[in-house]
Subunit: 337 residues, 2 copies
Amino acid sequence: MNNDIILLGYGSGGTLSHRLLDELIIPTLSGVAEREQNDSAILAHGGGRLAFTTDGYVVDPIFFSGGNIGDLAINGTVNDLAMVGAKPLAVAVAFILEEGLALAEFRKILEAMRAAADLAGVRIVTGDTKVVPRGKGDKIFITTSGIGVFAHALEISGGGAQVGDKILINGPVGDHGLAVLAGREGLELETDIRSDSAPLNHLVGALLDEFGDAVHVLRDPTRGGVATTLKEIARQSQVGIRLDETALPINPAVAGACALLGLDPLYVANEGKLLALVAPEAADALLEQMRRHPQGQGAALIGEVTAGPPGQVQLHTSIGGRRAIEMLAGEQLPRIC
Amino acid sequence: MNNDIILLGYGSGGTLSHRLLDELIIPTLSGVAEREQNDSAILAHGGGRLAFTTDGYVVDPIFFSGGNIGDLAINGTVNDLAMVGAKPLAVAVAFILEEGLALAEFRKILEAMRAAADLAGVRIVTGDTKVVPRGKGDKIFITTSGIGVFAHALEISGGGAQVGDKILINGPVGDHGLAVLAGREGLELETDIRSDSAPLNHLVGALLDEFGDAVHVLRDPTRGGVATTLKEIARQSQVGIRLDETALPINPAVAGACALLGLDPLYVANEGKLLALVAPEAADALLEQMRRHPQGQGAALIGEVTAGPPGQVQLHTSIGGRRAIEMLAGEQLPRIC
């Protein structure tokens, strides 16, 4: 916070985002020193619990291979609820439109939102629309908020990792980030990379119904990618994490594009992926069930929770080396979601 | 919807906003023809009810006499919950920051949000921060979402007006709109007009505790002003409304500035005002109680619900004339909230 202005990197999801939150936003807004680091807040209500989450979407471009800002916004909020084990009850949408946005484009985005909500089985119940003059926005920003309810008493949290837990991912990484990058003006990647944007609530529901409290942590590796998310979990749970590079699923086209562009796929954003940290005795059966689900066909076991050092993530590389993984520093891909 | 692009007027809260909602957003998003026109959605949950609302704030300038975009965003969401009779349980905030925003300004906004939340007695429980490059946003946009709970079984809705109901307002109109306008670059109004931005949940709670089902409709006349809001209620309840111009409270400075600028105060936005449509036998006592509350000292009885024609609002003017009131057409004051 040495700089006196907002930098692009404050929106990265990585180190700068954490500093902005920890040093300015959280202490000023809430007056509490410690913040909950989960994807949704948990509220006590009527003897039960509710999950509550909000996310702004400013992705550029607004249309990309495999989706657009509309389904991304719905999936992102549905997934933030799913990552604490909640089922989506209702979603609210707030649009900030730039004067001059084509109604045909807006309609296409609305249609994608409707389809995504239908797929997730959630209703869009309320909303708001503001318009800003040309040059004061960028086509369309969408903020989606969601309320989730619990079918069980499980407490799924980034703080729940236990030594020995196996780390599963439901499919290959990096597709969303690369699809957005490929769609961005001025970049021409000759690939068929498509965003993995998808709702994960049905997959999570199936896993929790079957495996219950064997599921300790769920987290979707969006901004900042798998590396930043694992680092967050390691800190929150005060455990070590070992990540096996060779086990990490990645589509060849994504790997190739990352190599070409000098991007580390570990830091690239995903929008239909989850990391599940699960009890070791249940890991094989969980992996099998994941693979039978449409959202988990490419699932893999990619690492495990170790005794330490607490807060550290070690990458075991393909050539047998080891290196410490840190959070995304600065901004790798601005406006990826 | 003859134009093929988004116009500024689509964000006015008036006729164009209604058309965008009714002809594009609602049918595409929800597939239902009729929309709920209340300030919050009501959700059935666990045998009870929850209120859920979201609003984007894009006010320009972000600082103005009597408040800033931060407390405005909190008050707006608290009030949207209050207008269906709910108590705020939790608020979520999503920031879209423009690269280059001064951290000192951001801090001042966060402090105002905290103070507003404390005043309303609601917790900010979760949030999100995105950053867009310079020239792709405008300093800061804030979307606030809120969950409300019910202490009673009252159904307060824009559809609940009954013939004979008295129409109360809790104080003078137009202050917020004029304060924002006065603060806008290039306009120098030599006045001490301050925004009326304030939380109304305590006032509403007190009225409902005391008068219960004598309160039929609550609505805050924000974008589009008192005129547009009354027109919405008249349509939603399928009743007529008579509004007495001479009874409408307005601060002299606001009246003067409106005259100077050619603005009709009936259409100017408020942020700490509510219209209450109440059973006639309770109106006097309700008005007295309103006036004893800090947020209702300037309360007045400004009209009543008539048998018809349904959906029409008639203004009885100070010189004894009558004219039909329509919704705000086009855009009177862009980015007022």
